[in-house]
Structures are given as structure tokens and as C-alpha cells.
Amino acid sequence: MIKVYVSSVIDASADTVWSRIRDFNGLPTWHPAIADSRIENHEPADRVGCIRHFHTRDGGRIRERLLALSDYDYSCTYEILESPMGVDNYVATLKLMPITDGNRCFAEWSAEFDCAEGRERELTATIGDGVFQGGFDALKRHYASGRR
């Protein structure tokens, strides 16, 4: 089992950031690596169990199922059903926590998965540095310009 954990501090309240990222179908609106997204079977994007079907900008097709969504904990957990990455049993959680001193929040994105021997380092870098940190960097850039 491989674990990846990335965290950051974003200069906007947890409520503000959450409203931007809670939409399970909204990755293309904030994550620079995602090209498009749709929810399968015309289900609402906040129905736990729904499946998002999206493409990365480099053409990869990924299907992920929403496993848990909490507006109370600012947290979202999902699993990969299909992807070109070569990961099994992949479950990830994106979560915000308020920082009470200052208008900012703590963001963490973590995943656990299995993979072929020898690919651990490469996948950890792709997922941790590329997907997760890439998403946080975009959020930080977005709110750094004072849009709160």
C-alpha cells in the first residue's frame, strides 16, 4: 500500500475554498490538469455514489466514484474505477480545515493505492507533486489575487 500526502495553506476561508472545490464535477473549473468532466447517468454531482468521467489535458480518461462528501468536515473521498495510471485500490480524500487566526485554511489531499513493484516513486511524484500540489498551487494563485 502506497500513501501520498500533500498539504498546504490557502489564503481564503475554508467556506470560500470549499464552495470552489466541493463540486465533484467541477475539476476543470479549478484544476489546471483537467480538461473536461461529466457525471455519468445524469446524476447530481453531490450524490454520494455518483461517477465522474473526465479527461486530463494530456488525454488520459479517468472514472472516479464519490464515496463520501461532508460539508461539515469540508471533505470529499473518492475511488478510481478506471485510469491509465496503473493503480489499484486507489482511494483519495481532499479535505479542508479552517485556520481560525486569519482568513485562510489548511488543505490536505491524500491517497492510498497499490501499484506494480518499482513504480512507487514515479506514481507518488505524479499524484503528489502533479495532481495534488498542482491543484493546491492553482488554488493559491487564485486566492492570492485577493478574490476571497
Binding site: 500533500v6 495553506v9 480545515m97 479552517p98 485556520i99 487566526d101
Partner: protein, 486 residues
């Protein structure tokens, strides 16, 4: 309604460094300004789950907290208040750290839930949120910025210091006026000793005898009278085990010295106070209750039908004797000085009450019961002949005190006519071993807790007004027990 406080921040230091400080449950007096002094009870490690930290705040409040969770993998510590002078109830707090991986910093989340007395929700929420958590964030930042955590070794454990306290001293034997309040420094407890914050001190007629100089060996001059008190443990000396700061305790000791707000006593004397027994009731009842206990169970052998004569039946010991003897099925006759006291004695189970102020009662006792099998006498010399006359054949005269004056020598032949016996007991002989002390005290606490004794009738005086309390006792103006509050 359960209150919830959440505060969080980011500390500009790696999580390992922040956690090294916070995982030490006894570190807070080194980095948090609000904490004056802290120690782990019972010599346990500060990372022992279940350990208790006992600390004082700068404003004097005292808090004991127990470590419930220590999780090095999740960087989490959970703890609860087990005792505090601040009214935070059911307080459970959790400290959680997370690494900020893209900045080498630490996210620190601190939250708690608790109850408060009605109307104090906001005040206590603010105190926790701002006074403890927000101030703690700032203080830890400063602690780390000054690299205080990197200097070798932990700060030395705080050394017990003398405490400013009050006591009442007798410099010369005499009337109540010889009792003088004074300030003093209560020293740290010595080996085998426990320093007790005394909140309630029992006043007994024995204290009057000592003050008058009847038993100089028990109160060498200058001396502090008083045999019993209740309160809580401040700290313990070397070699003391099984007692911790904050424990509620009472004691009844063979050496005087209880008229003080702080006192060091041998750990061996201490009796644990159950939650159901408050300090005042304990101090009002311990010596008197243990006295009633040995008089009824051991020395007097009171049983069904025993004709028991109790003098001062509305006094501290008297009321307990009436209640205890009535439960045992005895026939209780009491003497009191006023009608009001007669009512009190009757309410406690005294079957017949003789109201007398001139120590004449023998005829009445003979008429009512044909004499007394047991007499518990605190009157002394003025009632000497009446007591002999009041005894039944094979009767037992127990001379417990001598409020009217020291008993003149008794001719053994005076007992012969009735084949009577005479005892002159001291309570401490009946609680010489730790087991006996515990067993007798436990019966007193049980009787207080389950209501058999009822709430003791208590007259309270300030410690510094001990002279006034003695005057009231000697004028026979009091009913029930006298307690000095410190």
C-alpha cells in the same frame, strides 16, 4: 448545552519540532504563559497515557488534567479535566498537528467541548479560546523562535515553596482570648508528609481543654490547637505514595495543630473524602463521629434495650450518640440546657430529654428508667454525684469530658454499691492503627452519604475568629458542631 471551542493556526516550524514540545504533557509551564507551575502526579512519565498533570494558572486557579490519547502517528493528544477550580465541566480537548508539506510548516488544530454553569457560557468559551488556545499559539511561536525547545534537558521540576497561610496560636494557657490569629509561611512537606489546604477545621471541646492547659503534653507552648480538618492535598513530600495533589482528604490526628489554613501532616493520617461528603460536614463530623462510633460499638456496647444517658445531648457528639443509639434500639435519655436543644435531641432519636442547667438529673433518670446502664458524660465535676446516683446496677460511667471542671479524684469504693465501672477514654486509642482509622471513618462517611446521619448541624466561624467559636462553645450557646472555615 455542550460548548465547543475550536482554534487553529500555522506554526512556521517542522511538525517534528512542534510535536516534540506538545507531546510532552508536562511541557506547558515552560512555553504557555498562563501556566504557572505544572507537574505530573505520582512520578509518572509525561508521555504515559493516563498520567495526570496538576498545574496552577497565573491567576491562582488549579487544574488537574488526564492524558487520554497520545498518538505519534496522527500527532494527536487528547486530555480531559479531572478536577479544576474553574467551572469547566466534562471538558475534553484535542490537539492535532498536520504537516504543511509545501511549506515545511505545521498546522495546529486545538479543540474542546465542555459544559459550563448557566449564564457563563460566553465567558468560559472566551477564556478557553483566547486565554488558553490563542495565547498558547503565540507563546509556542515565541518559545520556538527563541529556540527554548532546543536547549538541552527539560527545565527542572518546580521545587515546592513555602506558602503564605494563616493559623491560630496559643502563647499562654487561658480563656478564649488567648487564641490569636497570625500569618505564617507553611513550609513544603517533609519526608512522609503531605501539605493540606485546610478548608474546614473541626472545633471540639478537647480544644478548649488544651487551650486551658489541662493537658500540657498535648499542646506545648506556643502551640496551635485543633485535631481535625478537611480540605485537599497541595503537594506531597519525599516517600509519599498513593496520595496526589488535589485529592480531597480529611484527618483526625493525635497531635494538635489543625487551626491553620495550610498544615503538613503525616500521610498516614489521611482519610480520603468521598464526593458525597463536603469539607464542612467532614470537619464537623469526623472526630465526633468516630467518638460516637467507638462509644456505641466498643466501649459502651450499646444494644437493644440499653438505657443510655447522654449529657449535652444536643452537642456535636451528643446528637450523633442519640441517632446512633436509637438505631441500635437503645433507650436514650438526654440532658440539655434549653428547650430548643431538647427539640433537637428528640429529633435525633432521644426518647426522653431532661432540661437542666444545674446538673440535677439523677432522680429523673431513676424515675424514667430505673437508672442508666451507660452514661456518656462530658459534664465533669459538677455532675459527679448525680452521675453516680443516676447509674443503674452494673452501670458504666464513661467520662468523656469535664466541661464544668476537672473531675476530683474518685474513690473506687464509690463504684462498689452498684458494682459500677468507670472509664476515661481518649478517642485516639480507638483509632491507633491505620485499618481502624479507615474503618471508623468509612462508617462515618457512609452514614453521612446515605443520609442516616442527616446533614450535620454546623455553626461556621472564620479561622481568625476561633476565640469567638470557643466562647460560644463554653457558654453552651451552640447546638451541633462548630467549624472554622479557612
Amino acid at each position: 448545552m455542550l460548548q465547543r471551542v475550536v482554534r487553529s493556526t500555522v506554526i512556521d516550524a517542522p511538525i517534528e519540532r512542534v510535536w516534540a514540545v506538545l507531546r510532552d504533557f508536562n511541557s506547558h509551564d515552560r512555553w504557555h504563559d498562563v501556566v504557572a507551575e505544572s507537574r505530573i502526579e505520582g512520578g509518572e512519565r509525561s508521555d504515559q497515557v493516563g498520567c495526570v498533570r496538576s498545574f496552577t494558572l497565573q491567576d491562582g486557579h488549579r487544574i488537574r488534567e488526564q492524558l487520554l490519547t497520545l498518538d505519534d502517528r496522527e500527532y494527536r493528544s487528547t486530555y480531559t479535566i479531572v478536577e479544576a477550580t474553574v467551572p469547566l465541566q466534562r471538558y475534553v480537548a484535542t490537539v492535532t498537528l498536520r504537516p504543511v508539506t509545501d511549506a515545511g510548516a505545521t498546522f495546529w488544530h486545538w479543540e474542546s467541548t465542555f459544559d459550563t454553569p448557566p449564564g457563563r457560557e460566553r465567558e468560559l468559551r472566551d477564556m478557553v479560546a483566547q486565554g488558553v488556545y490563542e495565547a498558547g499559539f503565540a507563546n509556542l511561536r515565541r518559545h520556538l523562535a527563541g529556540a527554548a525547545d532546543l536547549r538541552g534537558g527539560a527545565a527542572p521540576m518546580p521545587v515546592a515553596l513555602p506558602l503564605a497561610a494563616r493559623r491560630v496560636v496559643v502563647a499562654a494557657y487561658g480563656g478564649a482570648d488567648v487564641l490569636r490569629g497570625e500569618a505564617f509561611d507553611a513550609p513544603p512537606p517533609g519526608p512522609g508528609e503531605v501539605r493540606v489546604r485546610q478548608r474546614a477545621i473541626g472545633v471540639n471541646y478537647l480544644d478548649v481543654y488544651l487551650r486551658r492547659g489541662f493537658i500540657p503534653a498535648m499542646l506545648p507552648l506556643p502551640g496551635v490547637p485543633g485535631m481535625e480538618a478537611a480540605g485537599s492535598v497541595i503537594d506531597v513530600g519525599p516517600g509519599v505514595h498513593g496520595v496526589s495533589a488535589g485529592d480531597r482528604v480529611a484527618y483526625l490526628g493525635p497531635r494538635a495543630g489543625a487551626y491553620a489554613s495550610v498544615r503538613n501532616v503525616p500521610a498516614d493520617w489521611l482519610l480520603r473524602l468521598p464526593a458525597a461528603v463536603d469539607d464542612d460536614s467532614a470537619a464537623a463530623t469526623l472526630l465526633k463521629g468516630v467518638t460516637a462510633d467507638y462509644l456505641l460499638r466498643d466501649l459502651g456496647r450499646i444494644g437493644r434495650g440499653t438505657r443510655l444517658l447522654v449529657h449535652a445531648a444536643a452537642g456535636g457528639v451528643g446528637l450523633l450518640l442519640c441517632a446512633g443509639a436509637a438505631r441500635l434500639g437503645a433507650r436514650v435519655i438526654g440532658t440539655v440546657s434549653t428547650d430548643e436543644k431538647a427539640r433537637l435531641a428528640r429529633a435525633q432519636g432521644c426518647d426522653e430529654v431532661i432540661v437542666t442547667r444545674d446538673y440535677r438529673f439523677a432522680d429523673a433518670v431513676q424515675r424514667l428508667a430505673g437508672g442508666a446502664d451507660v452514661i456518656v458524660d462530658g459534664l465533669g465535676d459538677a455532675a459527679r454525684d448525680e452521675n453516680l446516683a443516676a447509674l443503674a446496677a452494673r452501670g458504666h460511667w464513661i467520662s468523656l469530658g469535664q466541661a464544668s471542671g476537672a473531675l476530683q479524684a474518685l474513690d473506687p469504693d464509690a463504684l462498689l454499691a452498684k458494682s459500677a465501672s468507670f472509664s476515661r477514654p481518649v478517642v485516639f486509642a480507638y483509632m491507633a492503627t491505620r485499618e481502624e482509622r479507615q474503618a471508623r471513618a468509612q462508617r462515618v462517611w457512609d452514614a453521612l452519604a446515605d443520609g442516616t446521619l442527616g446533614r450535620p448541624l454546623i455553626e461556621r466561624h472564620a479561622l481568625d475568629a476561633a476565640a469567638q467559636a470557643h466562647r460560644r462553645l463554653e457558654q453552651r450557646a451552640t447546638a451541633g458542631a462548630l467549624v472554622l472555615v479557612a
